[in-house]
């Protein structure tokens, strides 16, 4: 009998939710499982399904058991259903039910809302695997290839986590949603994924690092907000997913940092001090800092759209209902009901930006987005330290929140990266200077040549400071079987 810490590895689906004792859900998941494996083989990493990859797998959800490393073929990865241990006596931490015992079953009046939230979260997980499926062919090292696959298998596990909730708590509706999650395809004309950023291509490794830094970080914020939920199974699921999500942040954060490191190192070796001398820098086979800035502009703005409208009744309802909280709700010191509070919102009103105080309940999407921006800044600050240390006069920065937006207050306008409003003609002329253009894409693509020798790295990226699982620099992270 699983005690919530140790995981039952005996059945088809490793779990710490006593699937063995729940025939209905076990059967539903076992029925869903072959479709999942088919999806993984069709839409998962292309070309490496037989290779042995040095991956971590959770064998327990306690700190000592959850990160066990070994070689495994990806289709044999133990995708399991792992919830953080139950906290006895947990109460709903916010909203109008604050202080009532946390729900162990779905409350009838919030069933539709919960199902929607879980489905949207679930849809992003397979989407990113699909977006990244061709990247293995151009990995800059075996170390990076492993990191990509680790991210992929864990996104797969996060899909399992959401599908478990759908099957366990939402009956037939849940089963249909679970099937749909395997049917939609990122970027597909007729059956696209539910959110915009998850239908964009991930064409190269710098995009991958940017995606894991910016877009997976939105995932982290959403999980943080759902980890506060009064629906206890959702909270416990998200809490465990967050431990895995931290690795995805790391891949993006350190990936961009290593690109920056290699660029400034090559510039220094070639005595180039002008970061805008793009032709000379590209001649060195590294990615110039202005192009890295353009990638930041693109991925940051696409990801801000994922937070939805700044002023949102849905977000207010979800909070009030005790379903979705704020970032680190448990660390905030207020009444956790927000009925009388207000929150400043930057709005676009007839050609001007104005800050308006609006009811705090309505502004929860924006609040989460603001916490997200703060979280992003810490990464950019670290990248800038690398540039500063090399003595190069250039600072990477996040663009203005109104830049290049398709959803929310700024959807109808164009601005430059500092937030100056531009008319259509100026925008069209300036666009290629602010977002990656065809030349930039072609140049980056030309660098994407796979490196598969142990301990070797492509010329446009620096080696990491430490190996995964403390392994030495020449460790064979992936044993490639063609």
């Amino acid at each position: 009998m699983p005690d919530g810490i140790n995981i039952d590895y005996d059945g088809l689906i490793p779990n710490n939710v006593d699937l063995a004792g729940d025939a209905r859900v076990r059967k539903a998941l076992e029925t869903w499982h072959p479709g999942y494996i088919d999806w993984w083989k069709d839409m998962g990493p292309e070309g490496f399904q037989e290779s042995l990859v040095y991956l971590r797998t959770a064998i327990g959800v306690d700190p000592k058991g959850w990160a066990k490393f070994d070689y495994v073929k990806m289709p044999d990865y133990k995708w399991g259903i792992l919830l953080a241990p139950k906290v006895e006596g947990r109460t709903i931490p916010f909203g109008k039910h604050k202080g009532e015992p946390a729900w162990q079953e779905v409350p009838g009046e919030y069933r539709a809302m919960l199902r929607r939230l879980i489905t949207v979260q679930g849809d992003t997980e397979p989407a990113s695997v699909e977006q990244q499926r061709h990247l293995g062919a151009t990995a800059p090292s075996l170390y990076d290839l492993r990191n990509l696959f680790q991210v992929n298998v864990e996104e797969g596990r996060h899909l399992w986590a959401m599908v478990y909730l759908l099957h366990k708590y939402f009956g037939n509706d849940g089963r249909e949603e679970a099937e749909e999650l395997l049917a939609r395809r990122s970027g597909h004309q007729d059956t696209p994924r539910m959110l915009g950023a998850f239908n964009e291509a991930t064409p190269d490794w710098l995009s991958f690092f940017m995606f894991t830094f910016f877009t997976d970080r939105d995932g982290k914020m959403q999980l943080e907000a759902l980890a506060q939920s009064g629906f206890d199974p959702l909270s416990r699921t998200c809490r465990f997913m967050l431990t895995e999500e931290a690795h995805h942040m790391f891949v993006g954060d350190s990936g961009v940092q290593r690109v920056v490191e290699r660029t400034v190192e090559a510039m220094r070796d070639a005595d180039i001090t002008d970061p805008h001398d793009i032709a000379a820098i590209r001649a060195l086979g590294v990615i110039d800092l202005p192009t890295i800035q353009k990638k930041i502009n693109l991925h940051f703005s696409l990801t801000l759209d994922l937070f939805g409208n700044e002023i949102s009744t849905n977000a207010a309802n979800a909070f009030n209902a005790g379903i979705k909280g704020r970032y680190r709700e448990d660390k905030l010191e207020d009444d956790h009901a927000l009925l009388d509070a207000t929150y400043p919102v930057l709005r676009h009103v007839s050609g001007q930006f104005v800050t308006e105080e609006v009811p705090a309940l309505s502004a929860l999407n924006l609040r989460l987005r603001n916490d997200y921006v703060q979280d992003c800044i810490s990464g950019v600050t670290r990248w800038n330290r690398v540039i500063e240390k090399a003595g190069i006069g250039f600072k990477l920065a996040l663009p203005h929140v109104a830049f290049n937006r398709a959803i929310g207050e700024f959807a109808g306008i164009h601005t430059d990266i500092d937030g100056n409003i531009l008319d259509e003609a100026v925008w069209q002329a300036a666009r290629d200077g602010m977002l990656p253009n065809d030349d930039d894409a072609a140049y980056i693509t030309s660098l994407m040549v796979p490196v598969t020798e142990n301990g070797k790295f492509a010329g446009w990226i620096a080696p990491p400071k430490m190996g995964i699982d403390n392994k030495p620099g020449d460790f064979e992270y992936v044993q490639i079987v063609a």
């Binding site: 967050l242 431990t243 931290a246």
Partner: protein
């Protein structure tokens, strides 16, 4: 000079501020400001819970310093300060290191830990700042002439982080003839990392009383509730491999069984279904004098294959572990052909010579060269000897 202390630090250059460590720490030792995540040296008890969830490796830094860096120091860093040299001359470390070097001498050169072994903590407690333990068990394991005991030491609320195969140090009370404190004695831990039972904060030793032996008599005479100072843990190579396909051949005599009891307990609790197997060749004079004879009878062969060998059975020819190895040459040969075999030898000095000869002959008969094989096992962290 002040006693040196070990300090847990986070590398601010590598840390990505994901908050996993702070959320994981069970005692609130980790905190952060707008700049850095830091560890409070007054709170951290080296439980290591934060280490494996850290995605970056930035958490895994341990300095030995005269004065710990304050939280304010750590908040202000952009990178770690230069690591102070490991205090090689620190009497406690060098004392334990010399004992271990002696015990490992027969391994035949420096040996890395098994590649899949967990990362050990070493030298967390020293002579100047030992961990106080209480004796909560003292059970005689053997009958007849030998008095071998299973002694349980409990650390109360203090974390004493150990892995199977590591040793601890104790110092008998009083002074020697020259008026100096007695030398340190090392004992192998006979329990699993999570205690005698899961999540108890204790460890077990296997101690044999020797005539006139200062430390062994002191330990074997310990009453329940008595306290003693423990230092260590020590040993960073003779460790349980974690790989699921690791076959482990364990050869021992007498109290040399201690680390293997730890290995077996860990696998029984945490990895019962894996396909790597444990194989034990264990020698004693008689069943009555074989430590843990009773408990061994209860273990299934799927967990542990046992060859218990006796040298003083009435009316029987003397048999030693190397004799049994030769008699089971087919089994040994099959093991030597396994891709992920680990060999561990532990017991009285002299054991290794007979075992070595047996390996050489068995390998030769199967067309293998033991010296070559042994060298490849040793350099890949899969051949370990601890004798005394």
């Amino acid at each position: 000079m002040n006693a040196l202390v070990k300090q847990h630090l986070i590398d601010p250059e590598v840390c990505i501020r994901c908050n996993t460590c702070e959320a994981t720490c069970p005692i609130g030792a980790i905190t952060h400001d707008a700049n850095n995540y830091v560890v409070d040296p007054n709170t951290c008890n080296f439980c290591m819970d934060c280490v494996s969830p850290c995605p970056t490796g930035s958490i895994d830094h341990w300095f030995v310093v005269p004065e710990p860096f304050s939280l304010e120091d750590q908040f202000s860093w952009l990178e770690l300060p230069p690591k102070p040299p490991e205090p090689a001359l620190d009497p406690d470390d060098s004392e334990a290191a010399a004992l271990l070097d002696g015990a490992h001498a027969a391994t035949g050169g420096r040996v890395p830990p098994p590649p899949s072994a967990a990362k050990p903590q070493i030298n967390v407690f020293n002579r100047d700042a030992p961990a106080r333990a209480t004796v909560t068990g003292n059970l005689r394991l053997t009958a007849g002439e030998t008095d071998t005991r299973h002694i349980i030491l409990d650390f109360g609320s203090r974390v004493f982080p150990v892995l199977e195969g590591q040793s601890i140090g104790v110092i008998p009370p009083g002074t020697d003839a020259a008026g100096k404190p007695h030398a340190m004695r090392l004992y192998s831990i006979a329990s699993a990392r999570d205690g005698e039972r899961p999540n108890t904060n204790n460890l077990a030793l296997t101690v044999k009383r020797t005539a006139g032996g200062l430390a062994s008599n002191w330990l074997c005479d310990m009453e329940l509730g008595a306290t003693l100072d423990v230092i260590g843990p020590f040993g960073a190579t003779f460790l349980l491999p974690a790989a699921e396909d690791a076959d482990i051949l364990m050869i021992c005599t007498g109290t040399g069984a201690a680390p293997f009891r730890g290995f077996t307990e860990y696998r029984r609790r945490h990895a019962p279904g894996i396909h790597g197997r444990l194989h034990l060749y264990f020698g004693a004079r008689t069943p009555e004098e074989l430590p843990y004879f009773g408990p061994l009878q209860k273990l299934p062969a799927t967990l542990l294959q046992q060859e218990l060998v006796y040298s003083r059975l009435p009316g029987r020819q003397r048999e030693y572990v190397q004799d049994r190895m030769r008699a089971r040459a087919e089994h040994i040969t099959a093991l030597l052909r396994r891709p992920n075999l680990h060999v561990f030898i532990c017991g009285l000095r002299g054991l290794e010579a007979g075992v070595e000869a047996a390996f050489t002959d068995i390998a030769e008969a199967a067309g293998m060269d033991w010296a070559t094989l042994r060298e490849s096992l040793r350099t890949s962290g899969r051949f370990h000897v601890e004798t005394y």
